[in-house]
Symmetry: C2
Subunit: 195 residues, 2 copies
DNA sequence: ACTCCATATTGCAATAGTGGAATATATATG
DNA sequence: CATATATATTCCACTATTGCAATATGGAGT
């Protein structure tokens, strides 16, 4: 229901081709609702069909022509209307947490390896958000405020994951695991003191 | 790719019918990878087709027969194998953040209303996770540790949203908005001091 | 010279997930 | 007595999203 609006938001910042959306998206609204290029092109077509955007073909030589989309008044109306309805909070959907939930049938060595990898990737993302955020620190417009607030959610999320990964690595260390009761960890090399 | 594993994890705790999975799921693994009943039944069928679970029909009168699924050794193998591969960190996908990103074309009154609603819902979820977490506080098994850690991610997530909503409500208050430069907020009743 | 990358769009098969209807009965609530 | 809710499964249409291949060319790197 809503890549539609993410793209509309992207267009609201200025006319863009599908290529533009797909590319610069990932550095802005796309942080909070991502899509692959094939979906972007399809959705742009729908926006045009529904009168929320208009398109204009721009001739180029050597490359396929650019098709530039511009948001219409109807498009802005749609955004406005959308923002007056309640939005569902997003659901957590994370493989790693599913694995934790099934820890008894999971390779704990693998879990630790994953944890280390993810710590890295959360750090990366955190600094990505932080960089964007810092670039806005002197901005005083409404748009800046919106971007700042959104990025702050991203930063909080990544920071929490970072903290949690560190703690989880300790709580899942071989030493810690070996102190648990009932331990017969499958796929885990640690010799737990079995009953 | 992975409601499959969430269901496998559910089955790993004991044999379950589709109805059981759909129902009790929401109080456990389903926190971290949810599915509607129609999908659950479909996936259970696939697990059986692929030999990761076996099913047994249990006669009942008055109600349709229960079809109880039990995880197989192949199923446990699949979980183990899965946990040795890296998992992608989940992506943020939140309508509300998209709206913030497009704040210039959004009804700020609506945004504030949404913010208030969400504050509520994050509080609810937080206490849901916290209750589950507290019930485990004396548990010392590996399974308990896994559940605790997973729930802690949920708690962190909800707590951060709670904090952030409160802060955002201040930063988006009519008074705060009116102090911004360049303000011609659409759909916002506040008389911004236009240039 | 060769390969890789950026530009730019289209199209399609496949997977993932939602939402609702249909079916059948027992029990609880008003 | 009517209505809702819990039990239990199946099926289907639909939306959402991914991933890949095809097409065409200019420029940068090795």
């Amino acid at each position: 229901m809503s890549i539609k609006f993410a793209i509309l938001v992207a267009l609201s910042e200025g006319p863009k081709s599908g290529y533009d959306v797909a590319k610069h998206f990932d550095q802005s609204v796309g942080f909070f609702w991502h899509a692959r290029h094939s979906q972007v092109y399809r959705e742009l077509g729908k926006l045009r069909d529904n009168g929320l955007a208009v398109s204009e073909e721009i001739e180029q030589s050597g490359k396929p022509n650019r098709i530039v989309f511009t948001i219409t008044d109807n498009g802005r109306e749609a955004l406005l209307k959308w923002s007056r309805e309640p939005t569902e909070p997003m659901e957590i959907k994370d493989n790693f947490l599913v694995q934790l939930y099934g820890i008894e049938n999971i390779d704990i060595e693998g879990l630790r390896a994953n944890l280390t990898l993810r710590l890295e990737s959360h750090r990366d993302r955190h600094s990505q958000y932080a960089a964007k955020h810092q670039a806005l620190e002197n901005g005083g417009t409404l748009a800046d405020l919106g971007h700042q607030l959104a990025l702050e959610v991203g930063m909080r999320w990544e920071r929490e994951w970072e903290d949690w990964c560190t703690i989880a690595l300790e709580r899942l260390s071989p030493q810690a695991i070996s102190k648990l009761t009932n331990v017969v960890p499958i796929g885990n090399k640690t010799p737990g003191h079995t009953a």
